[in-house]
């Protein structure tokens, strides 16, 4: 393969991979780094299933080139687990049955985590706006919103 060597940080770990210049970060993460949490739904930035953070900002990995990750920090859904313990958002998604097929879930978790870091006590409206870039065709969104509210409450206790 002809490719460019990319040195990046993913979930706090230094990672190197080589990829063609026109490959998306989503494909690099899934096919070269082996992090398959981020999913390809649409591939055009509409569905949010590939949501990751790039230097702390929420982005669609399908709209970032793998080579752009060089020297930058990526956060994926795999980084939510700490010391083998699920993140409160993950716990609440399970408790509230905020998923069915699960394809959109990693994107929702990353987007919700980014929201709660900026705004620990969001209103329902703020949650719905913040998650507008994530599509779910199973739940009708209500269970997701309830799970995020419950997780926010849990996280504020700590």
């Amino acid at each position: 393969m002809t490719g460019v060597l990319v040195s990046t940080t993913i979930n706090g770990d230094a990672v190197q991979f080589a990829c063609p210049t026109d490959e998306t970060l989503l494909d690099s993460l899934r096919n070269r780094v082996g992090l398959t949490g981020a999913k390809e739904g649409c591939g055009t930035g509409d569905c949010g299933a590939c949501s990751v953070t790039l230097d702390g900002r929420l982005v669609c990995a399908c709209l970032v080139l793998g080579v752009e990750a060089n020297g930058r920090e990526i956060g994926t859904v795999e980084g939510l687990v700490e010391d083998g313990k699920l993140h409160p958002l993950q716990e609440k998604f399970i408790e509230h049955a905020a998923l069915q097929c699960g394809i959109c879930t990693p994107g929702f978790l990353v987007a919700a985590k980014t929201l709660l870091e900026k705004n620990p006590k969001p209103s329902e409206e703020q949650i719905r706006y913040a998650l507008a870039g994530n599509l779910c065709r199973c739940t009708g969104y209500d269970k997701i919103v309830r799970a995020v509210q419950a997780a926010a409450k849990e996280m504020r206790k700590k």
């Binding site: 790039l54 669609c60 913040a130």
Partner: protein
């Protein structure tokens, strides 16, 4: 595909000028990567301009604000001073896509993509924004309304790169506002939009600029609409004249998002509402 990361605008312009194949600038990539995915373009060169320091910041001086070409929408929303001086610009840029898109999208990208429905463009034009353009040999500064010449088309020459957008120094008692109509409140493309920027003197509109989006091949400056409110306190008669001038200036398409008749009517309605918001932001009382 060659991927280059120049550190000066001139270097970027030279790379783009020299390329014989299909060259593209990459800032936020929220339009470019979609076009690549769809097979609408197969670049031989992509110039990533995010490593150019001159493009990375929002700066304020006596001359006004300067917003670098790679500043993303989220960074504009986070900039309190910019939002205070130009709330209409910030609310327009903030309407582009989801939070995921806001983390990447730029106003210059929104401008150069050349969409008639681009949200930030009417607001920039209403504000009297200018684009600092860098070519391989020279720099020039051009009013934003001279950049887009038609859907997907700009007046930029091969190799020219917009380095930043400048907004003029804000006079006291000024306000701007941007409104768009979409069937959904998020993640949608403007069916009609209106931007108004004005300055008051003792409650009377002294200067104004009214710009419509998504109702013609490019954003439309409606001088007659501005004239209708200058010298008034936005009384009902002035607002009706403003609305009529806006509707008369429309030359929209008919599509699934809105009919010609609907867009023409709503352009006037939105312009009235945007004018009222801008007036109140400037300190006027309705």
């Amino acid at each position: 595909m060659r991927y280059e990361t120049p550190t000066t605008t001139k270097e970027a312009a030279t790379l783009l000028h020299k390329e014989k194949g299909q060259a593209h600038i990459l800032a936020g990539g929220t339009d470019l990567l979609v076009r690549m995915k769809m097979g609408m373009t197969e670049p031989t060169l992509v110039v990533d301009i995010k490593h150019i320091p001159a493009m990375q910041a929002i700066t304020k001086s006596a001359a006004g604000f300067k917003i670098g070409a790679t500043v993303c929408g989220a960074a504009m929303t986070e900039h309190a001073a910019l939002g205070k001086a130009w709330p209409g610009i910030v609310e327009a840029a903030n309407l582009i896509g989801s939070d995921q898109i806001q983390g990447r999208c730029t106003m210059v990208g929104n401008l150069c993509n050349g969409s008639p429905a681009a949200d930030s463009v009417p607001a920039m034009i209403a504000a009297g924004a200018k684009a600092i353009i860098v070519g391989k040999d020279k720099r020039r500064t051009v009013a934003v309304d001279k950049i887009v010449t038609g859907p997907g088309k700009t007046s930029l020459a091969k190799g020219e790169v917009i380095e930043a957008i400048t907004l003029p120094a804000r006079l006291p008692r000024s306000g701007d506002a941007y409104l768009r109509f979409t069937p959904r409140t998020e993640m949608d493309i403007a069916v009609v939009s209106a931007a108004v920027n004005l300055t008051l003197q003792r409650g009377v509109v002294k200067t104004a600029r009214v710009v419509l989006g998504a109702v013609a091949p490019t954003a439309v400056i409606v001088a007659k609409a501005a004239k209708a409110i200058i010298g008034t306190k936005l009384d009902d008669e002035a607002l009706e004249k403003l609305a009529a001038a806006c509707s008369a200036a429309c030359n929209p398409i008919d599509d699934k998002r809105g009919t010609i008749e609907y867009r023409t009517k709503v352009a006037g309605v939105l312009a009235k509402r945007a004018a009222k918001i801008a007036y109140q932001r400037a300190g006027g009382t309705l």
